[in-house]
């Protein structure tokens, strides 16, 4: 057992280094704009799902309102750029600060709620932001959306090359996963998991319930907004349907669940599986039938494999490790 436990981290390190190298070299390997575009989309949703997981997976606050934070990030960066000429590099910080404050406020309002009440409160919050995005036409131009002019250049996070977006997106995902990893290994991470598993027991052991939950909610919202700002600069057009809609909140959660809720790397794996799969299904089957499959998939996964792909990968990894050890024995 001991040699196995010692050998596995080495293998994991090699695999991680290989994956990192592959990610960095990808724009050199893939020249096709279509696939690179899909890859950047995967990075965006991997970041958002990882951010969602900080409050939902670690702390157990199942949010169905994260599209609100994504939209706040997208709209804040875009509006500051269009109205005041502020570079999105700073605009995304402003958006993420605003989303972080909103996340903390929502956390303060909802920390007491459990189960369906928490879910419904976050859902209501998400829809409120959507209603504002659609109807405050003076600010957001409503359903017509906002177009970011291309004359910005690199100092305004608007690049001519897709590969540049890829590296910025990779940095975003790296930051989000890094924060998530730091939380998982910190005292806060243990507090959050304790709260998720048994709030009353955790409270009685001195876990600071409100503080832990609010910090997790704020960080999760702020990181989601960063991804929203990046998305706006990448697509260069945003509207409520693509940034604040309820369906996006469901998609964010689904990605994390498919990959593995409550784990740092699960949500990114979920995006790697679901975004290309969704793209292929839409192209092959058309909107309606592909969504029938999507609904079916959602039901089957939460009923049959609620621990997600990462649990499957881990069990495969364990089995391989065990087999490799046998000749030595």
């Amino acid at each position: 057992m001991h040699s196995d436990a010692g050998a596995r981290p080495a293998a994991v390190t090699v695999a991680a280094a290989g994956a990192a190298l592959l990610l960095l070299a990808l724009p050199l390997i893939i020249r096709d704009i279509y696939w690179l575009d899909l890859g950047i989309t995967v990075l965006v949703w991997a970041s958002v799902a990882t951010a969602w997981n900080i409050s939902a997976g670690f702390a157990g606050g199942l949010s169905l309102g994260h599209s609100a934070f994504f939209g706040v990030g997208a709209y804040t960066a875009s509006l500051l750029f269009l109205r005041l000429g502020l570079t999105p590099w700073l605009g995304m910080l402003a958006g993420s600060l605003l989303a972080g404050l909103l996340g903390a406020l929502l956390g303060l309002i909802t920390f007491r709620l459990r189960g369906p009440f928490f879910v419904l409160a976050t859902l209501a919050f998400g829809i409120m932001v959507h209603i504002i995005a659609v109807n405050w036409r003076g600010l957001t131009r409503g359903a017509a959306g906002l177009l970011l002019p291309f004359d910005g250049g690199a100092s305004n996070m608007l690049f001519a090359e897709f590969s540049t977006y890829w590296y910025v997106g990779l940095g975003l995902l790296g930051l989000t996963v890094g924060v998530s990893l730091a939380i998982e290994r910190s005292r806060l991470g243990y507090y959050l998991v304790a709260l998720r598993e048994d709030e009353d027991a955790a409270r009685s052991l001195g876990v600071r319930v409100v503080r832990s939950k609010v910090i997790a909610a704020a960080l999760s919202a702020a990181l989601t907004a960063l991804a929203g700002s990046f998305y706006a600069c990448f697509v260069q057009y945003i509207d409520p349907a693509s940034t604040t809609q309820f369906e996006l909140s469901v998609q964010i959660a689904l990605i994390a669940i498919v990959g593995g809720m409550g784990t740092t790397f699960g949500p990114a794996i979920g995006a790697l599986i679901l975004i290309p799969l969704g793209e292929i299904l839409r192209a092959r089957l058309g909107g309606g039938p592909s969504l029938v499959l999507y609904g079916l998939l959602l039901m089957v996964i939460v009923l049959a494999a609620p621990n997600g792909a990462i649990a499957g990968l881990r069990s495969i990894g364990r089995r391989l490790g065990w087999r490799r050890r046998r000749p030595h024995a």
Binding site: R112, R114, L120, L254, G288, P289, Y294, L296
Partner: protein, 293 residues
């Protein structure tokens, strides 16, 4: 004054429609402890059922209700066996996303089969109105309002005055103890889910002559209905009716004053305020919000 009365009447009639959906949803939550995001899809199926029976055979919706409601409740029983019962006792995430998945599945199955076209039924009484003291009331709305209140009253009497109703209440209070008393819990779940889903289908048929029929019609209702159910107290039938009428009036009043879109925002604000100040809802049991999941 006349205008105020008209707005009040419109609001109450709208609230009556909401009540029929909300009572079913709150019943499913109270007994099965399942938050059913797919509830309004059964209303959508009821609307389409009424539409096709009218389009293909010329059946009046008030006649087709006797065909559509049993058919949808049968579908509800199948869904209960295949999906809902598997989520009982599972973590919150399973319950929420299984019913969300069901909702997406039903919506898009209908979309794939019959396209996203907006359809309507134009019966002789679709636009007939009753004038009462200067207030104009849609006859079809009055009928669905009456049906909603009758259903809620009937359900409440059934739950409080019959043996099986009391068995259902026992399951709602304590699943394990009810099972030990010889109540077949699985059958209670099946019965409750089918009845609740049938009431949603009934509402769909009743409003089919009044509103546009399209695959995503349920979506515009489900969030409002959830707000109503939480306002009334999750699991409380009288609370759901009261909150439905209240939200109907708020929606009609605020809609007149500040427009429909911003009116929606008002009741979201009310909803969040209630969650903060009185999370057990208007008529819910205290503490239900804590142990409700």
């Amino acid at each position: 004054m006349q205008l105020a009365l008209q707005i009040l009447a419109n609001g109450l009639l709208l609230g009556g429609l909401y009540a029929l959906l909300a009572v079913g949803l709150t019943l499913i939550f109270g007994v099965l402890r399942v938050v059913n995001f797919a509830h309004a899809e059964f209303m959508m199926l009821g609307m389409f059922g009424a539409y096709w029976l009218w389009e293909l055979f010329g059946f009046d919706p008030y006649f087709s209700i006797f065909i559509v409601v049993p058919a949808v409740s049968l579908l509800g029983a199948v869904v209960d066996r295949l999906v809902i019962q598997r989520t009982i006792g599972a973590p919150e995430v399973t319950v929420v996303f299984a019913t969300l998945g069901l909702s997406i599945l039903l919506q898009n199955a209908v979309l794939s089969a019959w396209t996203a076209d907006i359809r309507s039924i134009n019966t002789a009484y679709s636009s007939s109105v009753l004038v009462l003291g200067g207030v104009r009331l849609s006859v079809a709305m009055l009928i669905s309002f009456g049906a909603a209140l009758l259903f809620a009253l009937g359900l409440w009497l059934f739950l409080t005055h019959t043996l099986y109703g009391k068995a259902i209440q026992a399951v709602a209070q304590n699943r394990a103890a009810a099972s030990l008393m010889g109540i077949n819990v699985r059958r209670v779940y099946l019965f409750t889910f089918s009845v609740a889903v049938a009431s949603a289908a009934a509402m769909g048929v009743l409003i089919a002559p009044l509103f546009s029929i399209f695959p995503r019609v349920g979506q515009s209702y489900i969030v409002t209905i959830f707000i109503i159910v939480v306002l009334g107290g999750l699991g409380s039938v009288p609370g759901a009716v009261l909150a439905a009428l209240l939200i109907g009036v708020v929606q009609a009043g605020a809609g007149f004053l500040i427009g429909a879109a911003w009116a929606e925002l008002t009741y979201f604000v009310i909803f969040l305020a209630v969650l903060i100040a009185r999370p057990q809802g208007l008529l819910g049991r205290r503490g239900a919000e804590v142990y409700g999941g």
